[in-house]
Each structure stands twice: as C-alpha cells, then as structure tokens.
C-alpha cells in the first residue's frame, strides 16, 4: 500500500464508521445510545453497557453545586487574549461526567464545595455563589497557593488543587485547549526531523550517520 492509498483507506474507514452509525439511527432507543456513545472511541460490549449506565444516571451535582463549579472553573481558566474560558469549553459538563465515571472524585468535590460554602458563610454570612467577586477572591487566595496557605485551610487547598486539575485537564482536552497550548499533532504527516531553525536555536544537528540512515522525505 502506498502512502496515498493508505491515507485514503484511513479516511474511508473513519467515514464508513460514521455512515454505519447514522444508518442504524432509526429508533429512539438507538438514538439515545448513540448520544451516550457519541462519535467516541471503539467500544466492546461491556463498555457500551457502562456508557449507557452513566448516560442514564441522574446528575450528580445539584444546581447550586454546578453554579459554584462554573464560577471556580472560570476563576482558574478565564478568557484571555489567547483563548476562551473554562465554561466556554464546557468544562463544568466534563466535571459532571467525570465524577460519575470516577466515583473517587465525588466526595472530595462535594465535600470541598461544601467546605468552601461554609468558609464563605463564616466570613461573609453568604454561600460562595452568593458572595461578590472580591469576597470570593479573598477566600480563593487563601487556598490557591499550597506553599503559602495556613494550616487551617489545607482541606480547602486540596479541594482547590483538585478543582484546578480537573479544570485544566478538561479545558486543554478540547479543541479550544489544543489551540491554546499549541498542540499541532494528530494529523497524517511525514516526520522529517526537527525543523532546521529549531536545531539551530539549541545548537544541535543531526550526525552524518543519522542523515544517511534515517528516513527522510522531500519537503
């Protein structure tokens, strides 16, 4: 198989999979199943059942919890001049899914949100969501810097670290996140080595042996 044929084969298999999925999409039950499975990865039968189960579950987070998650996510990843915010990239919806898929996150998230509300209640007599922006930031600044934080707020620090990590991983695994971070892979190509200007920047070069032995392509 030459390169052109193999890329063609690749495109055809992806398209065919999509066509089959939509052709099967005739009754409502199938349609729900398709929604649960999305355009997602290959699934063996046990995985299909697992996805279906998650899709049928009630929301884990309450409306108030989701509101707090959205506020926190946008504090962690706000819109800037490079990309949008966490909520622009639907990070709260991702977090709602992932706690169902990974129940180990459920108690730390629920308890952490509650910890945050109680902290705000004690300070400002309001829940986190009901606080104004500057009040919220006073509490966030207590828990956002693990090395500086006071011992009495370490539970809050741990919660905020989890929230930061879920937000970042949820954001950078979207199309918006790929563009922001500058990930340029996942496209068929011919690897021809490190670009010349980059080699020069770091004072590196390929040896004659490498140039002779390694595969190279006309650019």
């Amino acid at each position: 198989m030459n390169r052109r044929e193999s890329i063609k084969a690749l495109v055809i298999t992806s398209v065919a999979a999509g066509t089959i999925a939509s052709a099967c999409n005739t009754n409502p039950k199938k349609s729900e199943e398709k929604k649960a499975l999305g355009t997602g990865p290959d699934r063996m039968s046990e995985e299909k059942l697992h996805e279906q189960k998650i899709a049928e579950e009630e929301n884990f987070f309450t409306v108030d919890e989701m509101a707090s998650i959205a506020i926190l996510a946008d504090i962690i990843i706000p819109k800037d001049d490079v990309s949008g915010s966490a909520t622009d990239a639907n990070v709260p919806e991702f977090i709602e899914y992932i706690v169902k898929d990974m129940p180990k996150h459920q108690v730390p998230m629920r308890g952490g949100l509650r910890w945050l509300d109680v902290r705000c209640l004690k300070k400002f007599n309001k829940s986190f969501k009901m606080c104004d922006g500057s009040q919220r930031m006073l509490v966030i600044d207590e828990i956002a810097y693990p090395k500086k934080a006071k011992p009495e707020v370490l539970q809050g620090v741990n919660f905020f670290s989890l929230m930061r990590n879920l937000t970042a991983t949820g954001f950078y695994t979207t199309e918006m996140g790929y563009k922001d971070i500058g990930y340029m892979g996942n496209v068929p190509n011919q690897w021809n080595g490190v670009p010349d200007d980059v080699l020069k920047q770091y004072g590196l070069s390929y040896t004659e042996k490498e140039l002779k032995e390694c595969i190279s392509f006309d650019s």
Binding site: E5, L10, G40, M44, P146, A168, T169, G182, G185, L204
Partner: protein
C-alpha cells in the same frame, strides 16, 4: 438458556491453537500457509484494527477525554480490551505476593496495543547460567533462532540500524525516523557520560513492504492499533492473512477450560465454554498448541488433570507454573528548562521512542547480575485526561518569563504557566532482566473458580536483591542523564530502599514468561527445544511460557521467532508421520 450439554465439533483439525496473540497468531499463519487445517480459539471478541482502532480521535471525542477505565487501563483510546482485572475472572495471591497480571481478551491479544519494541535476544541471553551461574541456560542458542529473527524482520517489518553490538544483534532493518528534539537532548547528554543512545528498533513500517499494509503516517498512536496496518499486530499482520488462506476457523469468545486426552494419553483437543451461548464445546485436532499467554497456558495445563497426568498435562516434572518472571522496571522524569516556550510544530513521530539505550555495562563489575535497556519519552504529546495535572507541585520550581511564580495559582498567569511548560518534559524507563526462580510461581487456587467454573491462578512472587540493586542502578543512571542535560527531576527521584528504589511490582511491565519452560532435561523442564511437551508429543506451547530466561529485551520478537520455529517443526514432524 437451553439445557447445559456438551457439544462436539464434527470437524477435526491438524492443529487446535489456544490464543491469538503473537505466539498463536504466528503458529496459525505458518501452519495455514502450509495447507494445514487450523482451529484458532480466542477468549475475547473479534478485533480488526482497520475497523476497530480509535486512531486519529481527538481527546474530546471520548467523554472521559481518553482517561483509563477498568476495561481499558491504558486509556479510552487504547487498543486493548481488559487488562489488570476482568469482571468475573479473579486471580489470587499467596502471602506477601503482589503479582500484577495483564490479560487481553480480543483477537490479536495485547499485540494490538504493545510498544512495538522488537529486540532480538543476543548470544549471551541464551546462556546466562554459563556466564553468571544463575537460572539455567536455554537448550538453544542465538544461532538456532537467528534464521527466524531474519525471516520475521522481513515478514513483519522493523526499523532500526546495524550497530554491531555483540549482545544486541543487528537485523534486517527499514530506516528509522530521525530523533525528536528531546531525544537529541537525551542523546547528547547520555553520550557525554558514556551511555550509548541508538535508533530504536520498532516493528513499524517507515516504508511499505507489501500491498496489504500501509506505511506509517506518524500519528504516534500505535497503542491504539493501526488502521492501515503500518505496525505489527497479530490481528492485522498474521491472523488476517492466515484466515484468507481458507485454512483457519477462528472461534471467538471461546474460553478454553482444559486439554482433553485420547486413550493413548495424547492430546485429543480442548474443551471450551462459548461465552455467547454459555454452552460447553469440544474441538479436536492432531496437535494442540497453547498460546494463551505464559500464565494462562500454565493454568490450562495445570487444570488439565487426569489419571494419567494427576499434576496436569505435560507436568510430570512439576515445573509448570514455576520460574515465572517479568521484566524489571523503574522510571524517572524531569523538565528541561531550556525547552520552555519551545517553538510549536508537529513532532508526534511514530508510536513510541525514536532512540533507546541497549545494555552497555559489564555485570561482573556490578552488584547485580543482569542488564537493562532504557526507553525514552517526552515532547509535545496529545493532551488527554491527566494533561497538566499537578501544576501545583511544579510551577513554583521555575522562573517563568522572568518571574518566580508561587506554586499553584489561577487565572491568566496560570494559563501562561501551562503554555510555558508544554513540551519541556522528558521521561525515562529502565526495563531489565530479573532472575527466573523456582520459588516465583503460579499454581491453581484450590478454593476459587472464575465465573465459568474454571479454577483460577494463585501467584507467589517476590523480588530478590538482584533486581532491587538493578533498580537502584537505574535510578542513579537516570539522575546522571537528567543532570547531564540540565533537567530538573520532577518525578521518580525520591525512591529509596524503603520502596525498592521504585521497582515496579512483578507483572507490571507485562512481559511475563517462564512458566512452561523449555530444556533438555524432562525432569527440570516442560518443553523440549522445539516448544514440544516432553510428556505429550502432540502438545506445544508457543507463548512466553516457554522462555528459560527473559533477557533485558522485550520478549515479543522472540515469541514470534520461537513460534515460527515450532510451527515449522510441527509441519516437518507431520510430514514424517511423527505427529
């Protein structure tokens, strides 16, 4: 459900093969090509990378963004069904044992997702006892296996370079890809301190080798299996053409229970449970070839008890299940500050490392008897679940755009940190040889069965000082290399004697071998040098079980070579009417 009954297949085969991974796939390929009729049994469902691979999917196409599940421990896009645990199929541990057992259930087995690191054993690797007095020598040497390595290089395709290293033998190679940026950093740093770094040897096609398989298009996703068959999976490269001969009946979802005997004490075939209708079946053949993986093949033999073979078929020696060993493994990673804010470009490359380090030292001068090789990683990987996790332990370490940051944080400043650090990470993994010991073993647990009623394995494994000292040496080496390239160690740097220097649990590296070992003496080995049972001449084992020792190499290329060799022997013995 209909009443339980035993069903016999009317058709009898020349060979009944259990398992469709590297060993079983190669046996099916060679036997079918010679015109023999083969029944290939696989415990999992069908799998064809062209149809099933999740190649080229982006993270957001998985609702969990590629995170792992118990169904796919290496992530949602990975090309392996199941792994460390399978629902309804437990295994148990003896006191203080912590064996980790990976089981794939699918056509092609774990070759659909493996690292494609395809290393030949060297001349020394077959004769370790003669060198250091530990374990045993193989009944064969490099010269016996070399012709098969050569054939496999040509048949399957592998890239690499001829380097004239005595114990990392050269092969018939396609051109390798050029090193990536971090690999050039590693090479410069390691070579400066006397550690060789050479092109890796992976079974990936940098050029097309036939009309059925495409060439690599550099997506770095070999672990998802390849839709154009540009890398080696047993499913695409061996089983597909084997079936196309018309000589192979593939039975999927067939969980084999035991090897059954005829009146002369020879293997008559196997019995299995069909996971779809849950009925019990038998299939008969002139030969039975086990390739279910080292531990599953041992389990099958131990569970095949009869008056004639009370300890399990082919186990008059009592050796089945013993000498279980896995590669050793320890890892470390760091950040190269010089690579902060790198220019962005696509550096996916092939799936895996473009360079590696073969074992380069003399064990006579060290406090551990066997070597290890080093695998390298790093660069601009695809963001998937876990990406950018743990920044709160990282960003305060570095000066970022002229600013000493506080650990953690949020907002625009945090987004800048993520961008700054992307692509500056480098990691290294030592993969070494442990000693095959009689007291590292698996046996049948007399108390526990799986959901099919098949008695399960109980493991008894531990590391000795040989492996622990080797892990210590790995860690020291990694620190030196990282230091030499100006990197800051960010993980794996704090391990010490309290945790065996970060040595992974046995089994964790997924190179298990040794449970059905070959040898010249029927009292101390299960198979002869043609992978044939000493006790039952029409019973063979062609997976990792037959290994006498592991070598500091990944074992797949040798499984393929030995399976091809055993299959040619079977053909020749059948022609002579010896089978």
């Amino acid at each position: 459900m209909c009443a339980l009954q035993l069903k016999q297949q009317a058709k009898s085969y020349d060979a009944v093969i259990v398992g469709s991974g590297a060993g079983g796939g190669m046996a099916a390929y060679v036997l079918a090509a010679s015109g023999l009729k083969v029944c290939l049994l696989e415990a999992g469902p069908n799998y064809d990378p062209a149809v099933n691979s999740s190649q080229m999917k982006n993270a957001w196409e998985s609702p969990r963004r590629g995170a792992s599940t118990k169904f796919r421990p290496f992530g949602d896009f990975d090309g392996c069904y199941w792994g460390w645990e399978i629902e309804g199929e437990p295994y148990t541990q003896g006191p203080n044992s912590n064996w980790e057992w990976w089981r794939a259930r699918m056509v092609g087995g774990r070759t659909n997702h493996w690292g494609r690191i395809s290393l030949r054993f060297g001349p020394d690797d077959f004769k370790r006892k003669s060198i250091d007095g530990l374990g045993d020598d193989w009944p064969i040497g490099y010269d016996d296996v070399k012709p098969y390595y050569d054939k496999i290089d040509r048949l399957i395709g592998i890239f690499g370079t001829n380097e004239n290293f005595y114990n990392a033998p050269d092969g018939i190679f396609l051109p390798p890809p050029k090193p990536r940026l971090h690999e050039l950093f590693i090479k410069r740093a390691a070579v400066n301190i006397g550690i060789p770094v050479i092109p890796s040897r992976l079974s990936i096609l940098t050029k097309p080798i036939n009309k059925d398989r495409g060439a690599c298009f550099y997506c770095a996703q070999c672990n998802r299996s390849c839709k154009v068959y540009a890398d080696f999976s047993s499913s695409s490269v061996l089983i597909k053409p084997a079936i196309e001969t018309g000589n192979v009946d593939l039975i999927t979802n067939a969980m084999v229970r035991e090897v059954i005997l005829d009146r002369d004490g020879l293997a008559k075939g196997v019995s299995y449970v069909n996971k779809e209708d849950m009925q019990e079946y038998e299939v008969h053949g002139r030969t039975v070839i086990l390739a279910a993986s080292a531990c599953e093949s041992a389990r099958l033999m131990l569970n095949s008890k009869s008056t004639k073979y009370p300890n399990g078929i082919g186990n008059s020696s009592g050796v089945v299940g013993k000498y279980l060993h896995d590669s050793t493994g320890a890892d470390m990673g760091g950040i190269i500050p010089e690579l902060f804010d790198r220019k962005r470009y696509n550096e996916d490359g092939v799936g895996g490392l473009h360079v590696y380090t073969p074992w380069w030292l003399d064990n006579k001068k060290l406090d551990f008897p066997r070597g290890y090789h080093i695998e390298y990683g790093g660069g601009f990987g695809m963001p998937v679940y876990g990406f950018n996790w743990g920044i709160e332990k990282l960003n305060g370490t570095f000066n970022i755009k002229g600013q000493q940051k506080e650990y953690g944080g949020y907002g625009a400043s945090l987004k800048q940190d993520y961008r700054h650090l992307f692509g500056a990470h480098v990691g290294m993994a030592g993969r070494g040889e442990g000693i095959a010991r009689e007291d590292n073993f698996c046996e049948i647990d007399n108390d526990v069965v799986d959901k099919f009623g098949i008695p399960v394995l109980k493991f008894h494994t531990s590391w000795s000082d040989y492996e622990i000292n080797q892990a210590k040496h790995m860690k020291e080496t990694f620190k030196e290399i990282l230091h030499s390239m100006g990197a800051v160690v960010t993980w794996g740097g704090d391990d010490g004697p309290e945790n065996n220097y970060g040595l992974h649990n046995p089994g964790n590296i997924i190179h298990e071998a040794g449970t059905v070992r070959m040898g010249n003496n029927p009292k101390t080995s299960v198979l002869n040098k043609y992978s044939q049972s000493h006790d039952v001449k029409n019973l063979f084992c062609v997976d990792g079980g037959q290994f006498v020792s592991q070598a500091d190499k990944n074992i797949t290329w040798t499984i393929l070579a030995l399976s091809m060799r055993a299959s040619e022997y079977i053909i020749s013995e059948m022609k002579k009417n010896n089978l």
